[in-house]
Amino acid sequence: MLNYDIVIIGGGPAGLAAAIKAKEEGIDNILILERDSVLGGILNQCIHNGFGLHTFKEELTGPEYAQRFIDKVIDMEIPYKLNTMVININSDKTIIAVNEEEGLLEINAKAIVLAMGCRERPRGAINIPGDRGAGIFTAGTAQKFVNIDGLMPGREVVVLGSGDIGLIMARRMTLEGAKVKAVVELMPYSSGLKRNIVQCLDDFNIPLKFSHTVINIKGKYRVEGVTIAKVDKNRKPIKGTEEYIKCDTLLLSVGLIPENELSRNAGIMLSNITGGPIVNESLQTNVEGVFACGNVLHVHDLVDFVTIESYNAGKSAARYIKGQRFSNEGSIKIEAKDGVRYTVPKSINIDNVEKMVQLRFRVSNVYKNSHVSVYFDDIKEIYKKKKILTPGEMETVIITNEMLKKYMDTRKITVRIE
């Protein structure tokens, strides 16, 4: 049995930042467990730029952004194990992991930071009918083939879903010599960042078809084409609008799902909206001493926000090791209402707050010229004007210690779009 103060599960941007912060806070006995052969997580295959504008005030590629954190982890001599897969976490914080060199590892942790990231929703999850030949890839799988292996999964491409990876891959496939015939989006708006639509599609004349979906895939052995159709308000295909597009590849960018199978085994309660653990202001789950950050908690749009969140989780874990407890007793519940899909965290206990809490959320539709309002019970404390709010971009409001003190007896904080 190995013993550590803090074990961080996942060596991507979330896990790295959590480890660095915990170490800076004075905790030395830390271990990062990473299933891949290198640290850095999915950033390693995100070779486009646009990372780090908030954190470093410069535009980095994914690998560059990751490397800054990897270098720091190495400088700070934070231990990590690569090619090591965690296969179980118990609610008493024992971890079973496995790798080639050491075999089966049993690890006892005083605190755990969950930073396993997310996975892509596959074709089956959205039940696209048709043949099941080769040539149907999630955008991330195609990205791995192209950016890491240097191999092309297709020549003529249709992308379903305008999530960021789909947009990025539309551009990448074009740059590497493929023809991207269309990006098809079920919703009347994109779930990706505006800048990606401009830089990845508009600049390459790739058509983006809103309110369309793929209704059939043809090609028993390899994709030969897809049929797309316009959808109505209820997202049902409209008869007569079908259009066949010849292609050999369909890339899917139809949503990301936090990977919480391990969390579930550990008895951690999950939100059925985010798919991630339900956490309090300290990013602690319902299991004491288990914290979560990054895409395993909720899917982020920018890695910079992952970093900030993960610093907070790392700090909480360090405080926990030093004896701080993050009780939920007397916590203020946070409710997401009127266009706000969820909030992270779900509750705030003023006793645990140092200066402020960043409340992150996403909206359920596109809102123009509206306001983000935060109510302490019935009193509107924040009323922030927003030119545009879209589901593709994560929003933040800051709840300060002063506000919490001002409304000492508040039982509920409500976030809504007005």
Partner: protein
């Protein structure tokens, strides 16, 4: 000259091959696809029926319960997953209860043991996710679930180890009847054989009609399925059938032997024996009908959907036996449900026909035992430690959803009749069958296949040659 040539490496052909390998015979199996179990065998309900459905006068009625009773020994000898989870035929209308009783009587005539009518409360206690509208059910304790392709791969491996030759990518183009033997011409070779066993599934009519004047017709009937994540695999413990009503045969909800939840199939007669595409209407239909059985369908846990074809014969029953006008040509055709359940009993009968004809000696080297690929995901931690000690590659997890190790994948490639494709790996190890549907592991498995088979990654296929995954290097298109 072969003694016996079996056409088709599906569950029927492989059951027969394995049973015949008990004898000192020269046997080969010809398969048009690149792997075992690539036809009807890979996409069906994966259940072992108790045997109450078919009329006692039919071959289906005759073989089902007998076949069912043979699964325990077979799965033990060949190390493939099989479980007697029991089955329930659910009745939702008090006026239809008499049908349950009729079904029970029929089952008893067919030799199905332990049949019992359960009342509403008993059903709901057993199956808490079943709709409150249930009235009663017929419980069959011998109903089971099996992994049909793992079973078939196991049968084939064991047959191969006991001396049966397998030839893949061999599409039978013609059969010529000589006086005392046949010449079978395939896309790749020509062989001579004393006996032909036609286990060609959907194409059994074509094979029969090459030599016999008694033409048969196999009609493909497509059935579509939805498969759900293991996290909802407990929503059905038994296999849940719906009592056929005037609205149709109903669809089933069942756990799979690997712990997923499976819903399906519908039944569409089609012309094209290659058309296994799913349709919007079909998937909608099965999900709608499943709402009769379950209180709720866990749509967020849907991981994939697929379709398979059943080989329905125009005679509406199995066609088993020597063709009347062609001596030594044995048909095993029209094997649709309960074909998988009947398959061991069908093989038994075919072997008896062959024994009568050739009077073969026993194969004294026959070994009935086949050891499957170690399943890391099902082991205790102690067993895992031990396994990694023996081979460190079992400490390297490649498929994270199903917890499949590199050791298992290499084992699948290197074993008898080993995997050469992504689907081959998937069916032997479950790598890529989980909730991410190979999003994370397909690139790694392509690397392992390329390395172990010493082929270019450009030549890695999903299943057949035309299903290449990659088409070239960056910037070279």
């Amino acid at each position: 000259m072969y003694d016996i040539t079996i056409i088709g490496a599906g569950v029927i052909g492989c059951n027969i091959a394995r049973e015949l390998s008990r004898y000192a015979l020269n046997i080969c199996v010809l398969e048009r696809n690149s792997d075992i179990a690539e036809g009807t065998t890979k996409a069906n309900s994966a259940i072992v029926h108790a045997g109450h459905d078919a009329e006692p006068s039919t071959l289906k009625g005759k073989f089902n319960a007998r076949g069912n009773s043979m699964f325990d020994k077979l799965s033990e000898e060949l190390d493939f997953p099989f479980k007697r989870n029991g089955s329930l035929v659910l009745c939702f209308d008090e006026n239809e209860r008499y049908k349950l009783i009729k079904l029970k009587e029929r089952g008893e005539k067919n030799g199905v043991p332990g049949l019992e009518i359960l009342e509403r409360e008993q059903v709901l206690e057993k199956e808490p996710y079943v709709s409150e509208n249930v009235v009663a059910a017929l419980y069959a304790p011998t109903g089971g679930i099996v992994c049909p392709y793992e079973m078939t791969i196991a049968l084939a491996e064991n047959a191969y180890t006991n001396g049966v030759e397998f030839y893949f990518d061999n599409f039978v183009e013609d059969i010529e009847k000589k006086n005392e033997y046949f010449i079978v011409k395939t896309s790749n070779k020509q062989i001579e054989t004393k006996i032909v066993i036609n286990a060609a599934g959907l194409y059994a009519d074509k094979i029969n009609n090459m030599v016999s004047k008694n033409k048969i017709t196999i009609i493909p009937r497509r059935g579509e399925y939805c498969l759900f994540d293991k996290s909802v695999g407990n929503m059905a413990k038994c296999t849940l059938f719906q009592l056929p009503t005037k609205l149709g045969k109903g669809i089933l909800v069942t756990p799979t032997v690997d712990g997923n939840l499976l819903i399906g199939p519908n039944r569409i007669e089609i012309d094209d024996k290659e058309d296994v595409a799913t349709t919007q209407e079909g998937l909608g239909e099965i999900l709608n009908k499943a709402r009769l059985t379950l209180k709720e369908i866990p749509m967020r846990q849907l991981i994939t959907s697929f379709a398979g074809l059943r080989a329905h014969s125009s005679e509406d029953d199995f066609i088993i036996g020597e063709a009347e006008d062609v001596k030594n040509f044995i048909n095993v055709a029209g094997i649709e449900s309960p074909g998988l359940s009947s398959s061991p009993a069908i093989a038994e009968m075919v072997v008896n026909i062959v024994k009568y004809k050739l009077n073969p000696e026993l194969n004294n080297k026959f070994n009935p035992i086949r050891k499957g690929i170690p399943k890391f995901r099902e082991m205790s931690n102690e067993e895992r430690k031990e396994l990694i000690n023996q081979d460190a590659l079992y400490g390297r997890i490649i498929c994270r959803c199903e917890t499949v190790t590199e050791g298992e994948i290499i084992n699948a490639i290197k074993r008898p009749l080993g995997a050469r494709t992504l689907d081959g790996i998937k069916r032997r190890t479950r790598a890529g069958m989980g909730r991410c549907q190979s999003g994370f592991c397909s690139t790694k498995i392509a690397d392992i296949l390329s390395r172990e088979l010493n082929i270019s990654r450009m030549d890695i296929v999903k299943n057949e040659q035309a299903s290449k995954i990659l088409i070239g290097k960056n910037k070279t298109l």
